[in-house]
């Protein structure tokens, strides 16, 4: 076995090649985007992501300092409020992002998995928000848990998902569900970079047949009204103009 063959078998090399195949270099943090991306409706995905990062950072602080801190101290109140309002923005931006992508039929062009990971992340976020309300350790969380237990018992999961157990709810809120949502968000972003953002319905590929499939770019009829941010798009290999 030559040295090169040995290197090829290395898991690091295989992983690097796998990553490069999934999202080629230059598409992770692109400096070019299709012309149609210059629209406010395309902002809400990254706004959701920004809010999510604030949610995570403030949540980590709250988990480290504990409930006595967020109930009593001024800084604890501030971080607690920051956690609440970043979640409010996260959910609002995510729903607007969902509306935009729904009316754009964002599952077109082999983007079904992108759509699915986003939808499941949305459902996971609802569960995370719910267990967050139960982890406030105040009368509000007591009220919500006692109201929710009957519904959850009625569907037969009360024995496993016990909303009256604050420790279990805290585990779901700060470990299990964030891991699920975090994984889905990362997968969602990778898929967006892999397949590119979905073009509008009226996007017209500029003689797509003349271009190499891997560098085929999409411009829209609105491109002349809404010029691009930079030079022509370098989109993901699977990005194609679908109508």
């Amino acid at each position: 076995m030559t040295r090169a063959e040995g290197t090829d078998r290395s898991w690091t090399v295989r992983l690097r090649r796998r990553i490069s195949r999934t999202v080629p270099e230059g598409q992770w943090l692109p400096d070019r985007q299709p012309a149609y991306v210059r629209s406010w409706i395309y902002v809400f995905g990254v706004a959701t992501l920004a809010a999510f990062l604030v949610v995570l950072a403030s949540g980590v602080l709250l988990a480290i300092e504990g409930e006595a801190w967020w109930h009593v101290s001024s800084l604890g109140h501030f971080v607690n409020s920051m956690h609440l309002w970043s979640v409010e923005l996260f959910m609002a931006f995510m729903v607007i992002h969902l509306w935009g992508k729904f009316f754009m039929a964002a599952w077109r062009g082999r983007r079904a998995l992108t759509w699915i990971t986003g939808a499941v992340a949305f459902l996971g976020s609802i569960g995370t928000a719910f267990t967050g309300y139960l982890s406030q350790s105040n009368f509000d969380s007591q009220w919500i848990s006692t109201q929710a237990k009957d519904g959850l018992n009625a569907v037969g999961i009360g024995a496993f998902f016990n909303v009256l157990d604050p420790a279990q709810m805290l585990l779901w809120h700060i470990v299990l569900l964030p891991l699920l949502v975090g994984f889905l968000v990362v997968a969602h972003i990778i898929l967006v970079r892999r397949h590119g953002v979905v073009p509008p319905f009226d996007a017209v590929p500029p003689a797509a047949q003349e271009l190499e499939p891997r560098t085929a770019q999409v411009t829209s009829r609105t491109a002349h009204k809404n010029p691009p941010v930079g030079s022509p798009s370098v989109e993901a290999p699977d990005q194609e103009a679908t109508r």
């Binding site: 012309a35 210059r38 629209s39 406010w40 409706i41 902002v43 809400f44 409010e88 609002a92 729903v95 607007i96 509306w99 935009g100 500029p206 770019q217 411009t219 491109a223 002349h224 009204k225 809404n226 010029p227 691009p228 941010v229 030079s231 022509p232 798009s233």
Partner: protein
């Protein structure tokens, strides 16, 4: 001690609810939903600033094609 007094008053106050047939929603939630719809509509309708200040793709000379 105005702060704690206000906080107590706020906690004790009942939320305002809108009733419309079988639909019942808190005023706060309704306002949030309306704000989201307005934001969505604005995002669709409004154009980004300076969107006419850059050359269109086909006019650029440094296209690496």
């Amino acid at each position: 001690m105005v702060g704690p007094a206000l906080a107590t008053a706020r906690l004790d106050a009942a939320g305002r609810y809108i009733h419309w047939g079988v639909i019942q929603i808190s005023l706060t939630n309704l306002l949030v939903i309306i704000a989201m719809i307005v934001l969505f509509g604005a995002a669709v309708v409004l154009r980004m600033p300076h969107s006419d200040s850059r050359p269109v793709e086909s006019e650029r000379s440094d296209d690496p094609r």
